[in-house]
């Protein structure tokens, strides 16, 4: 019997080609919009989480609070304090290092400017003064050479480590180890090249996190203030204690500093911030999806109401030969589902194509997978069921004699 329903529905779909095309296009646009937006949203979500995750889930960041409370740029996965005045001191570093669950703490001071090697020059995305514990805290792996040692931190000629992109920009294929580069008129000796930390491209650009230079505290030593930092990163021995450690750091620093002068954050905090934005984007996508599917559904309902009206006499003939109201209802509902499924398939196909094109031409990398394809087809079925019921009931409830007397076939 089901095969006969399918056959009857297919004949109905085939016999009104223009109406079918309009209905299928309507629903396909709705599904296309929903799936492609979800794919873009999912891609953005993954990208943000990957970027945030570069700092590590077992690291707490303590930053000096900016004067205007603005959050600075995300550099190497670290949310910086923007234009904040660095106020974190070696005392703060000692306080944090004394926390029982902190296995290591390293300071950071963000610097600006260019570095040169001969006549070659680059402007690092991430030029920072730190200490020898940095590679341990940030899980930095070395591609060449090594990180500077504790002893080397006090060398007259500072030893530095550069990122892979900086190496390419300044040295090309040349071996950089032992070579001198200059920064603000000072010579710095390259002792290592850090492995990639998550750049998406080898080209030098504003977002290339591997265009980096890590130098010792002496890079920023100031005769009046000693060394001050804009951030301290603390690595936790056990991730389960991260929350209590964060509270403990806040409490101990607040004993001698104004609580407003620093900000303690975990990766969870950063993810939460990103998640809030993503949740808003998701809500926006959901609203767009509901609206577009509703419009598509109304379009389908309109098409099916016209189909039922056009085929009133057919309904009468079918009832004459023994069709029950249920038979008629199922036939028209299947016909609606057939239209919405065709629209769903077309919409998913368009979305897959759009994702492919967007991946090729833009930095956004939308993600589409089997579950989104399933969602698209599932939504098309749901739309068909919701908006097909009304017209199908209308067809089922027609009295046979009245249906036969209509002049429509």
């Amino acid at each position: 019997m089901f095969k006969k329903y399918i056959h009857a529905a297919w004949l109905g779909v085939k016999s009104a080609r223009l109406r079918t095309v309009i209905a299928v296009l309507g629903i396909s646009m709705g599904i296309f919009l929903v799936i492609s937006l979800l794919a873009v949203g999912r891609g953005v979500d993954t990208q943000i989480k990957e970027q945030v995750a570069t700092i590590g889930s077992d690291v707490i960041s303590i930053s000096s609070t900016s004067s205007d409370q603005d959050q600075g740029p995300n550099i190497g996965g670290v949310i910086t304090s923007g234009i904040s005045v660095p106020t974190l001191t070696s005392d703060d570093l000692s306080t944090i290092s004394r926390e029982p669950s902190v296995s290591a703490a390293t300071p950071l001071r963000y610097l600006g400017g260019d570095v040169n090697f001969g006549n070659r020059k680059t402007t690092p995305t991430f030029l920072a003064s730190t200490d020898y514990k940095y590679p341990f805290v940030r899980d930095i792996k070395m591609l060449q050479g090594r990180f500077f040692t504790k002893k080397e931190q006090s060398d007259t000629t500072p030893k530095v480590v550069i990122g892979t992109a900086t190496k390419v920009a300044l040295f090309g294929e040349e071996d950089p180890l032992g070579k001198s580069i200059s920064y603000n008129g000072r010579d710095l000796v390259v002792v290592g090249v850090a492995d990639k930390i998550g750049s998406t491209s080898d080209e030098i650009g504003a977002n290339n996190l591997d265009n980096s230079v890590y130098g010792p505290p002496s890079l920023v030593e100031n005769a009046d203030q000693g060394v001050v930092y804009s951030m301290i990163l603390a690595k936790i021995a056990s991730v389960s204690s991260i929350s209590t450690t964060k509270q403990s750091i806040e409490t101990n620093l607040a004993k001698y500093r104004s609580p407003a002068s620093f900000n303690v954050r975990t990766e969870a905090d950063r993810i939460n911030t990103s998640q809030t934005i993503l949740d808003m984007i998701s809500a926006f996508i959901a609203i767009i999806a509901v609206i577009s599917l509703f419009i598509s559904g109304v379009g389908i309902m309109n098409v099916m109401v016209v189909a039922v009206t056009d085929r009133t006499r057919e309904i009468g003939v079918r009832k004459t030969v023994g069709a029950t109201s249920r038979n008629i209802f199922v036939q028209f509902l299947i016909e609606t589902l057939m239209l919405t499924l065709m629209g769903g398939l077309l919409g998913v196909g368009l979305a897959v194509t759009a994702v492919f094109v967007i991946q090729k031409i833009s930095p956004v990398t939308p993600e589409i997978s089997g579950d989104l394809v399933g969602l698209g087809l599932g939504l098309s079925v749901v739309v068909g069921l919701i908006f097909g019921v009304g017209p199908a009931l209308g067809a089922a409830n027609k009295e046979p004699i009245e249906a036969l007397q209509t002049d429509r076939s």
């Binding site: 019997m1 004949l11 016999s15 009468g316 009832k319 023994g322 069709a323």
Partner: protein, 248 residues
Amino acid sequence: MGELNSTNQTTSVLSPVFSQPGALRLELVSRSFTVSDNLVEALKGVNLSISSGEFVAIMGYSGSGKSTTLNILGLLDRPTAGAYFIGDILTNDLSQSERARLRKDKFGFIFQNFNLLDRYTVLQNIELAMVYQRVSGAASRRLALDLLSQLGLSGKANARPHQLSGGQAQRVAIARALINNPPIILADEPTGNLDETAAHEVVGLLKTLSARGTTVVMVTHSPEIAQYASRTVFMKSGSVVGIKGSDV
């Protein structure tokens, strides 16, 4: 078409065998409608009994109630008063699905305007009557093709109804009515849109079916066509005003 004119022809489809005769009985049946706040009485206390295998013609002027009678007999309409029996079954209180099942099992319908669906081929129009039977697609196709062959329409299986002559279209409609082998055929002005030759061919076929045991009830304007029936019921203003022929 010549093969159909012979009442001696014996084929499986045209020779139905019934375990239960298709007897119909109307008892004081009335049917009224409200049209623009006015009550229109289409039938007024009609009594009519039709035996299994009988060929009955119903005659009368337009508005006499003959088509309404046929619609009630075919369970396409319900009486507003009185009782209608098919065999021993009182149909008044049957549900929609029970009425649909009876229509499927008991009746074949033939209409003046054929009621063929242009979006379907001739073959598909005939198969339409088997969609709701538990018969496989292949079996229903074979039956439909056999019937088309018997009706002299083998070459028209894939034609559309609008490509047929009136006589051919009515023969297709008859094929649709016969394919389920129903015990009762209800024909509403089956010759109304046909030329004289085709009209006599169609009514001759109905006569043949009646001779094989099928109950045939035919509404007609034409006394000449009504002569094929064993009994003619005359109606006027919603009432039976006379009966000609053997009264059962």
